[in-house]
Point group: C2
Chain length 201, copies 2
């Protein structure tokens, strides 16, 4: 069976959001599964000595905000730049890992709900009550999830996931791995698709 | 008449090269002219506080070299990573400005010749004799061109062009402007084309 597509994402990354809206259809067209891997770009950037796009050189920061919206519109994905940005994604990322262990079928719907809350509805997804509200709407047991967010095993799994991503060469998001090949950026999805469809080029 | 596409490029930029191989067909499909604008990324990066992709964080540098070749292959453009990289593009860039003044019809063919010499034939285009060899093959008067490279007006025009690009918000290459909208990266050409074809989105 063909291997899964590893999809590394940070909830606070606009390009991760845009790619998250496209990757399932792409994977489905080619009979691939997706392995959703939440990471924390703050940790990755510290390791890489880089900064968020919107916090560096002014013209690049301004261009980036424009490009987020334009790139989303280009592929037909709704986008509103969040009023609080970037936001911390620790709670939402731990929730993903907890769901992947406890209720795997709910992980992808939860990921989409969090991304859309931030990038469409302008909710501050760094706040635990917001995360719980989104979980509840999906029928997730929020008492258990609340406890899960404080579990050492879950905390460690997120830390380990970020470290593993860095060790694998991830320096930004989204980062996708297909049969060992890394692709960085939502704008590489056409290359990902051809790579899957017709092999290395 | 529709305005020209401003195409800012550095001869040492792989993504500028890839885009240079595609932009003329794109422009022609929509009846647009191209205004080729050589810049020096070294100066731009100094202003932006950034570094060449291949000189920063190791994993990102390694990915970039891989992505140059893969992105070129994706659009059917031949690519061989130069053994000397990045290279200085002052002489070749001044030559472009001289041609644009003295023999405009030869500017675009010369630009392609320089890019291909570097990214296909692995020639060190920072060397003036290499630039002259390429010019000669195109029937350009290399005695006059040699003198032109030392003209104060040409030197100043290149400096002014780089400063103007920075003032306009350029922080990397290629950078394209279409009807006032800036696009950064060869991977934005599909957006450039839609912008021209159907207007802002």
């Amino acid at each position: 069976m063909a291997s899964a597509i590893d999809f590394y994402f940070d909830f606070s990354s606009p390009y991760s959001y845009v790619a998250s809206e496209e990757i399932e259809a792409l994977a489905e067209r080619h009979g691939r599964e997706i392995c959703w891997r939440p990471i924390l770009l703050g940790v990755v950037f510290k390791s890489a000595g880089s900064t968020p796009l919107t916090e560096g050189y002014g013209p690049k920061a301004r261009y980036s905000v424009r490009d987020f919206a334009r790139s989303a519109a280009f592929v037909g994905v709704p986008y509103r730049h969040p009023s609080v940005f970037p936001v911390g994604a620790v709670a939402a990322s731990r929730a993903v890992l907890w769901l992947q262990r406890e209720s795997p079928a709910q992980a992808a719907p939860f990921i989409h709900a969090v991304f859309r809350a931030l990038f469409v509805s302008d909710r501050n997804i760094s706040e635990v009550p917001v995360v719980m509200e989104l979980a509840q709407k999906l029928g997730i047991d929020t008492d258990r999830l609340t406890a899960g967010l404080q579990e050492e095993a879950i905390k460690n799994a997120l830390r380990a996931g970020v470290e593993q991503a860095i060790a694998r060469g991830v320096f930004g998001a989204p980062a996708l791995f297909v049969d060992g090949e890394m692709f960085w950026g939502h704008d590489r999805l056409p290359q990902v698709e051809r790579w899957i469809a017709t092999g290395p080029f």
